[in-house]
């Protein structure tokens, strides 16, 4: 530990950032393979089996090489600067949020005192880059796609933020680590089951569960997953990235998978105990071994997040897509009133107890 602290802060930052990029890349590679496997499973087929031998594990790598080698087409009429810039901004804004994701007790980029609010802030920048991409393509269909995506993401930001307020209210902090730490000691202490700071958990139980459900559904729309995948709608509707090809198109995909992990990670940190194990005996305390405490914590955090990612994929291959008006209807007339009521009741409970 002392050795660790002797390393200058700047170098630690750089190492962490590089580690995160490697992690996100590996995750994206894995998740794309997983998505195909889940799709195959849902449709009763095998999925990729050839590339790399075991269950086509290197299929994504092959695809990525293909994308890298493909011709990069920029439409003549496009606004070249913005067209090139947009995919990177999408990825940057979702990657920036990883800085405050608590992987383990000591493994976090920066435990900002506004951690969760920072995530909400930087992920709101995704909208701008999507509009940018749709507009810069100078194609009316990608413009429509961009508008659709922007209106959807702006709308769904509200229920997401409101349902995130529930754990924040219960814990009384915006710091990610504070939000995780109160959930120690077994899964019955997780925020989703209403326990925070040992306050009357049974009363809060229904509201925290509702908050979690609203968060999870609305975050699907935030990251444009089925059943809310209108902005992309690769197969039927033309989306904002219709003019993109080669690795620029790949960047959008990359960002989408990074975002999937991000929203799952936030859900895990705020509702599902973060890096805490479901049972106390499965954890290693920091006093026993600092290294193992963090390794085990990371294992639980990533494991739980991967389960949520899997559920997202599962939903994608199970549910049909919503129509655009139904999408807005669900947001403004179902999620929004429920999350408002939820926040109101939880704040009352906090005030009373």
């Amino acid at each position: 530990m002392n050795l660790f602290h002797q390393i200058p802060l700047e170098i630690r930052w750089v190492v962490y950032v590089v580690a995160m990029i490697v992690f996100v890349s590996l995750f994206a590679l894995f998740a794309i393979w997983l998505e195909r496997k889940v799709a195959a499973w849902a449709q009763d087929r095998m999925g990729p089996m050839e590339t790399g031998g075991f269950h086509g594990w290197s299929q994504t790598i092959a695809d990525m090489i293909k994308l890298l080698l493909k011709e990069d087409i920029i439409p003549d009429a496009a606004d070249r600067g913005l067209f090139k810039l947009a995919p990177y901004i999408v990825f940057t804004s979702s990657f920036a949020a990883f800085a405050v994701l608590p992987f383990a007790a000591n493994l976090i980029g920066s435990d900002l005192n506004i951690g969760i609010y920072y995530i909400v802030a930087v992920s709101s920048l995704v909208v701008i880059s999507i509009i940018m991409a749709g507009w810069a393509s100078n194609n009316k269909w990608s413009l429509y796609g961009g508008m659709r995506a922007a209106s959807q993401m702006i709308s769904y930001e509200i229920p997401v933020a409101l349902s995130l307020l529930v754990p924040i209210l219960l814990v009384g902090s915006l710091s990610m680590q504070d939000l995780v730490k109160v959930q120690a000691g077994g899964f019955w202490n997780w925020t989703i089951f209403g326990n925070a700071l040992g306050r009357g958990s049974i009363l809060q139980l229904p509201f925290t569960i509702v908050a979690f459900i609203i968060y999870f559904w609305a975050s699907l729309a935030e990251v444009n997953r089925v059943p809310f995948d209108l902005p992309e709608g690769e197969s039927e509707i033309i989306g904002f990235h219709v003019e993109y090809s080669a690795m620029r198109f790949g960047m959008f995909f990359f960002a989408e998978f990074a975002n999937m992990f991000l929203v799952s990670g936030v859900a895990v940190a705020l509702f599902l105990g973060g890096w805490h194990a479901p049972f106390p005996f499965l954890e290693v305390s920091a006093e026993t071994s600092l290294i193992w405490c963090n390794v085990i914590g990371t294992f639980w955090f990533i494991g739980k997040a991967l389960i949520l990612v899997f559920i997202q994929m599962w939903l994608r291959w199970t549910l049909p897509r919503l129509r655009v008006d139904q999408l807005m209807h669900v947001c403004w007339k179902v999620f929004l009133p429920f999350s408002f009521a939820n926040v109101l009741i939880v704040s009352l409970l906090v005030v009373i107890s």
Binding site: V120, L125, W135, S151, I154, D325, H329
Partner: protein, 176 residues
């Protein structure tokens, strides 16, 4: 380190602010404005006002600028839309107005001088912003909510064409 960061951020903020007013396409102006706001947020962080910084990004870059982009894209597609300043007279008037504002700001700042008081490190945290908002500025906070409520109702009242919906079928209403 901090000084270098400050200089870079300030320079980017200034350059992008200049780009906002010199671009011919409104969309480009708006995007540069987003960059300016982003740099301002970084400056807030350096002042220790993290919450204000996040607020700056959520409210300005994430909400208001997106609205601007939305409106601009709804109005027309690219090509036809460039700023046209009618006549050199107006351009100089604009410069004069901007110069006047700069002059006022300069005189104001010049007489304030550099303060050597150390800022309270807690000044930008959530709790200090929250306690200012809910103690000293409780009434303005509530009035602001009435203001926003009025604005929301007003927009709906103005946009709605039909006095009362005759057909209440969902699809028809949303489609229009």
């Amino acid at each position: 380190m901090e000084l270098i960061l400050f200089i870079i951020t300030a320079l980017v903020a200034l350059v992008s602010a200049f780009m906002v007013i010199t671009r011919r396409t409104p969309i480009a102006s708006v995007l540069y404005l987003v960059l300016t706001f982003f740099c301002l947020a970084v400056l807030y962080v350096m002042l220790g006002a993290q919450f204000i910084a996040a607020m700056q990004i959520v409210v300005y870059a994430g909400a208001i600028m997106v609205l601007f982009l939305f409106v601009l894209m709804l109005l027309s597609q690219r090509g036809a839309q460039t700023w046209e300043v009618a006549g050199p007279m107006r351009k100089w008037l604009g410069f004069a107005a901007a110069g006047g504002v700069l002059l006022v700001a300069a005189t104001a700042l010049q007489s304030v001088g550099v303060s050597d008081t150390v800022l309270d490190p807690e000044i930008g945290t959530v709790s200090s912003v929250g306690s200012a908002l809910f103690r000293r500025f409780l009434l303005p906070f509530e009035v602001a909510s009435v203001l926003l409520l009025g604005a929301i109702i007003g927009v709906v009242a103005m946009v709605k064409r039909k006095p009362y919906p005759s057909e209440t079928e969902e699809g028809v209403e949303h489609g229009s």
